[in-house]
């Protein structure tokens, strides 16, 4: 698909034998140009189709409720209602939700990333009996759907009295996550061992090697993991949804669901709330596109 040169198939309907190729330069150029044009047309249409629900969401968030169901639909909100955002903010405990989401994100980005670095370093740079078996075990947890353990976790946290708080959401993930450990380990393995050895000759211990040699050289991989962590924690739904009941204690993602059950018909406020929840992701994506693409590409290379 990467190639532009279009040649006529041997089974050309003109009935010519395949040795006689009609590949006049003008014809090839014409086909190449039309292929290019076609590519752009499909890409434009495609990205429009993918972008328009977003644009529709933005549009709706600024509309007056009674204008929502007009036929034919308004393309541009008239009148333009900024007030929707203020109404939305005053209707639900959004400030609480955002703070809760941020706590979860911070624990993930710093705590989980940090511990994943330790574990990945252990796998990449040390030897001990059973190391390879443990690594296989880590990869196996990637295949385990988290929902199998949701009932026992609920019972467990209920027993220790931690339900209806952020703890049951944050605690189980804090100990390093398989996917992040995997990405980091793969990256650490690409660093030359000679650097470690040189530092060790200078008297550095394993921790010092990690902090002075490996971490400074692994900033791109660590950034990738941190960014993934941000998105996953910000978007996390199932576990906070199961574990937290009090509206004020919810995270933003689950809070919007609560908001929808209360004010389901006020689409303009729902859309405004959705935009508030999506905005940080869009911003992070714009600043960290490279980290995203690299991280996902790494997953693909795994096979």
């Amino acid at each position: 698909m990467a190639q532009q040169t279009v040649t006529v198939e041997p089974s050309d309907p003109s009935g010519m034998p395949s040795s006689v190729r009609i590949r006049t330069p003008a014809r090839i150029r014409a086909m190449r140009v039309s292929g290019r044009v076609l590519t752009y047309v499909i890409l434009w249409l495609g990205s429009f189709v993918y972008a328009i629900p977003f644009l529709w969401m933005v549009r709706t968030s600024f509309m007056r409720l009674d204008k929502l169901f007009e036929e034919p639909p308004q393309i541009w909100p008239d009148p333009w209602i900024w007030q929707n955002y203020i109404d939305m903010w005053e209707t639900g405990p959004f400030a609480n939700w955002i703070v809760n989401s941020l706590i979860l994100v911070a624990l993930g980005m710093f705590g989980q990333t940090f511990i994943s670095i330790f574990v990945a370093y252990g796998f990449a740079r040390t030897q001990f009996p059973g190391r390879n078996q443990l690594f296989v075990l880590i990869l196996a947890t990637l295949m385990l759907p988290g929902h199998v353990t949701i009932v026992p976790k609920f019972i467990m946290f209920r027993t220790v009295g931690l339900l209806d708080s952020l703890w049951p959401v944050a605690l189980p993930d804090l100990w390093g996550q398989a996917f992040y450990i995997f990405i980091l380990r793969q990256f650490f393995l690409t660093l030359p061992v000679e650097l470690d050895e040189a530092a060790e000759i200078d008297g550095a211990n394993l921790l010092q090697v990690l902090f002075r040699v490996v971490i400074p050289l692994s900033k791109p991989a660590i950034a990738t993991v941190a960014v993934f962590n941000f998105i996953n924690k910000w978007n996390e739904f199932f576990e906070p949804f199961v574990f937290i009941q009090t509206p004020e204690k919810l995270t933003l993602a689950v809070g919007i669901r609560w908001f929808r059950t209360q004010y389901g018909t006020e689409f303009q406020m729902l859309m405004a709330a959705s935009i508030v929840s999506v905005a940080p992701i869009v911003i992070v994506f714009f600043f960290a596109q490279k980290q995203f693409v690299r991280g996902i590409a790494l997953t693909g290379i795994k096979s």
């Binding site: 495609g46 796998f123 059973g130 353990t149 019972i155 605690l171 390093g176 739904f237 959705s274």
Partner: protein
Amino acid sequence: MTATDMASAPTPARRGRGILGWTWKETQGFLFILPWLFGFIVFIAGPFFFSFFLSFTQWRLVGDIKWLGFENYAQLLSGEDTRFVQSVYNTAYYVVFHVPGVLIISFIIAGLLNRKVKGIAIYRTAFYLPSITTGVATAVLWYWVLQPNGLLNNFLDIFLKPLDIQAPNWLGSTTWAMPGLIIMSFWSVGTTMIIYLAGLQGIPQHLYEAAEIDGAGWWGKVRHVTIPMMTPQIFLTMVLAVIGSFQVFTAALIITEGGPADATLFLLLYLYWNGFRFFKMGYASAIAWILFFVILFLTIVQFLTARRWVYYEGERAG
């Protein structure tokens, strides 16, 4: 796995050093792994086995746990619980259309983006952003898009109005609710697309040149070069998509709550209801284990059939 197991076969060099016969360096290495091992035992392995135990019991969070033996499984697998049967059917319906759809759409987009187009960052953003959008926001948005007079029907009416055909009431009809959710799922193809794009960029140019010399046209090159070279990525994304699509939850919960008339009742939603609405902890665990075995079975089948069609360059290079 305990630490003593691992030290059970000490080599002569290791003997007599430290408690487990490990060198200081080995002990340090193990200490680095320890946090993960702790989390694994407490939050993954422990609950995993506890859930297996629970699946043979009846328990409503209060009172004693009652041992049932295989009763939960018998009730589920005999078809006695018609809502469970419905949820299996719905989940299978979704998987069958969602997985190939996502793979094909991602492949086409990745193929187009790989043609050295200008402004690739803009297209990539447009196609990728939906897949990292908060699930709830996506669901709320599509709830709006799929309304009888929503965005999708506004668009369809352009073609259907002249033919005097009524656009479907997506979420209100047992026939159209599931197709509606599947169409929505095609909006989030970004991750698969980027894995493909990375794969396409890794295909050596000389293979296309060789194919061209052999007289291959555009389709010939796609069929005989691109697709075979991409089979590792196709395989990976297929496995991930199957695992993921068995766990649809947010969309069904928020958009349809399983309705109308259980038409979008997915396995995970049914598990959630049993566990956290009816508080049937044992029954919910049994559903979880059936879900787990189905996913495990399909993953193993895919891995076993993989050697027939997945091409790994390293294998034939020698």
